[in-house]
């Protein structure tokens, strides 16, 4: 048997070349990119309302094609006003938090960083609590969004000295900001009534049961803008992930790009948290799962974070809303499902790309 000659070495290649499209990673890459599509269709078939799959299929067909089928109007409500916006909102929040997590981990060069590192979640929780218990005129989403950005701004301003924003200073100021907003949240919880405390706790656990089109449409532009910026500049994250000195050495304006990534990631995560509550672990585990499978290259990790993050949270929410017949906050499920899976990957592989 004669092997073809390698162009670079001039020696015969002992392994026949595997076409790119057949390599398992490429197949997996394509599969992960397209995952949201089947997940979306599976998700809209799940729910507590007794609607059989053939019936649901007929309703969809009659809605989108010329197929004629007569059905109760409540089916429209269940499919198009409850399940569609809920699945889309879950996907949007999943994409935002995963992409934001991957970005923060790249900037901070730290595998333990999540989108909440700069106090975003504490600020959002405080804003939501303020709205629930103190200023009912302020919509919960607006309160959460405004105060998540206030917290981020606070962290950034505190960390910035002499025109520089060091990574360590950012992390420390994030810790301080989180503590301050957590304390303010405690004051509200301590002084408000039982029902309001219950609502605050429910919100902080992350829940999608109040999803509707307005929520989705209000937050989508911000999430899309944030994710798009990160996607377009994703290769710069590879340079930033080398370290600030190295990035400067190759001519990168580190402060500028760090600020761009921070703003874009924060915007996407804040918009998602404002409508979905605080969903734990997602922004941490999804990027890691992807790095473990596909390596640390942000050119792959970022688009995959968008699609796999979307599919992941939609699937988790399917479990949260369909398994028990009542609502389990999705944040609880992400933690319960994510932690053991993450542990398994951690023990069976290298910490994807960080070692």
């Amino acid at each position: 048997m004669k092997f073809p000659e390698n162009e670079k070495t001039g020696y015969p290649d002992c392994r026949p070349e595997i076409p790119f499209y057949l390599e398992w990673r490429s197949l997996a890459f394509t599969g992960f990119l397209l995952l949201p599509i089947p997940v979306f269709f599976v998700s809209i078939f799940l729910g507590t309302y007794p609607l059989s799959p053939p019936e649901l299929l007929r309703v969809l067909l009659s809605h989108f094609t010329a197929y004629e089928y007569s059905y109760p109007s409540v089916y429209d409500t269940v499919i198009f006003n409850i399940r569609f916006p809920r699945v889309l909102l879950a996907m949007m929040a999943g994409a935002a938090l995963s992409t934001s997590g991957a970005t923060f981990q790249g900037i901070f060069r730290n595998p333990l960083v999540s989108p909440y590192i700069l106090g975003l979640s504490s600020g959002a929780a405080f804003g939501a609590a303020l709205s629930i218990a103190v200023i009912p005129e302020l919509p919960v989403q607006a309160g959460a969004f405004i105060f998540s950005l206030v917290a981020l701004g606070f962290s950034y301003v505190m960390a910035r000295t002499g025109g520089q924003t060091s990574t360590v200073a950012l992390v420390l100021s994030g810790v301080i900001t989180s503590s301050v907003f957590a304390a303010l949240l405690s004051i509200i919880q301590f002084t408000t009534d039982e029902k309001a405390v219950q609502s605050i706790v429910y919100w902080t656990l992350g829940c999608l049961h109040t999803s509707h089109w307005t929520k989705f449409l209000d937050s989508f532009p911000l999430v899309a803008a944030g994710c798009l910026i990160i996607y377009l500049l994703r290769w710069k994250l590879n340079v930033l992930a080398l370290g600030e000195e190295e990035a400067k050495a190759v001519g990168m304006n580190v402060e500028l790009y760090k600020a761009i990534f921070l703003i874009a990631a924060s915007l996407a995560a804040s918009a998602a948290v404002a409508v979905a509550g605080i969903i734990g672990l997602l922004g941490l585990i999804v990027p890691h799962i992807l790095r473990m499978i596909f390596g640390p290259d942000h050119r792959k990790v970022i688009p995959l974070s968008i699609t796999f993050g979307a599919a992941f949270l939609a699937l988790v929410d399917d479990v949260a809303r369909s398994t028990f017949g009542f609502e389990i906050p999705v944040g609880i499920i992400t933690t319960l499902l994510g932690a053991p899976f993450f542990l398994y990957l951690l023990r069976t592989t290298k910490i994807g790309g960080w070692e």
Partner: protein
């Protein structure tokens, strides 16, 4: 510190701790021993001096019961009172020393040192489990027995009232108030008891968290049933329907399709917001339009959470309120304002509204 220690020593001398004592059904030995052992709402036995002269209430529902059974003078300290601005005029009318008895402001609970200043022989505290840290803290630091308050049925409420009246040696008044309650409730149940199953609408009870509702083992469930409705959760297949406060989701609610939605008083939400399909508190109520209750405009609200607090002796008033909404034709002759006034006069000795002495 000296005051607390002294108080603790004095109290420890006259108050027995229930732990490890032999269990009894109700109470024993009031006249003979100068002490009485009663079973609290959690099923714990506590022994207190008899008749009990100084009680501290850190839970408002039970305090209402104490006032109803004539125990105003036996209340020596009052803890958190939610929305006090709206309730204080009533409490001042039935207890001139109300302000002096307050141990904290508004909805804040007093600390253990402040509780000690009221020199209580027993403290009443809301608790849903035996291992409550709050109970332990008071019992162990102040050496004062704590009565764990927990009500999730009408029977619980009346049993609690009997126990409270027994503690202060006013059993007769306790029986009298229970009789008044039963008479008022019979005005409703005599009518609703004769209704056929078809005449009873299915009711979704909506707590402040919107998807939180009344489980089949709850006071609100008893309220619905006695008022002539059927809790819509009876048709729910989920096992959590038996807990006190199950939580549904929108799809489950649509599937249950209640004929009536009854809201607990909600500051941020009115029935019209639901029937109009508004978006309130992040919930898009246009998705509720397919629910029978919304289609037919049968969404009601408890108009005043204090006056119609059904975890208090005012439960019969809440029952009349709900029954009138569920069956307006059958209870047209029953005037809620007049009934409320008469009930306040009988139970508290003041008129409603205005709280003028009767």
């Amino acid at each position: 510190m000296a005051v607390i220690l002294l108080t603790s020593v004095v109290l420890s001398g006259c108050v027995g701790n229930s732990a490890g004592e032999e269990k009894t059904d109700e109470s024993f030995g009031p006249a003979e021993t100068g002490k009485i052992t009663v079973t609290d709402d959690l099923g714990r036995e506590i022994t207190v001096p008899y008749p009990c002269e100084r009680t501290v209430f850190l839970v408002e529902n039970a305090m209402n019961s104490m006032y109803a059974v004539g125990g105003a003078d036996e209340i020596s300290g009052i803890g958190a009172v939610w929305y006090e601005d709206t309730k204080a005029p009533f409490f001042r009318a039935i207890d001139p020393s109300y302000d002096e008895k307050r141990l904290s402001e508004g909805s804040e609970q007093p600390g253990t040192e402040t509780i000690a200043t009221a020199d209580p022989q027993v403290v009443f505290l809301w608790a849903s489990d035996w291992g409550s840290e709050d109970i332990k803290a008071i019992e162990e630091t102040l050496n004062i027995p704590v009565y764990g308050v927990y009500i999730d049925s009408l029977d619980d409420l009346q049993r609690q009232m009997k126990t409270l009246s027994k503690l202060i040696g006013k059993e007769e008044r306790g029986e009298e108030v229970i009789e008044l309650m039963n008479e008022s409730m019979e005005k409703v149940t005599d009518v609703t008891g004769a209704l056929s199953p078809e005449e009873k609408p299915t009711v979704y009870w909506m707590w402040g968290d919107v998807y939180g509702t009344a489980g089949l083992n709850s006071t609100a469930n008893a309220l619905i049933e006695r008022s002539g409705g059927v809790n819509v959760l009876n048709s729910w297949t989920n096992e959590t329907k038996n807990v006190e406060h199950p939580v549904l989701n929108l799809e489950a609610l649509l599937a249950l399709n209640p004929e009536v939605i009854y809201m607990w008083n909600n500051e941020n939400l009115d029935p019209v917001n639901i029937t109009s399909g508004d978006t309130m508190d992040g919930i898009d109520f246009s998705t509720w339009n397919e629910i029978s209750a919304v289609k037919n405009g049968r969404v009601y609200e408890i108009s005043d959470p204090f006056v119609y607090d059904f975890h208090s002796p005012r439960l019969p008033l809440a029952m009349i309120h709900v029954a009138k909404d569920l069956h307006p034709d059958k209870f047209a002759a029953l005037n809620l304002t007049a009934e409320t006034d008469q009930y306040y006069v009988d139970v508290y000795g003041v008129h409603y509204p205005g709280f003028e002495p009767a």
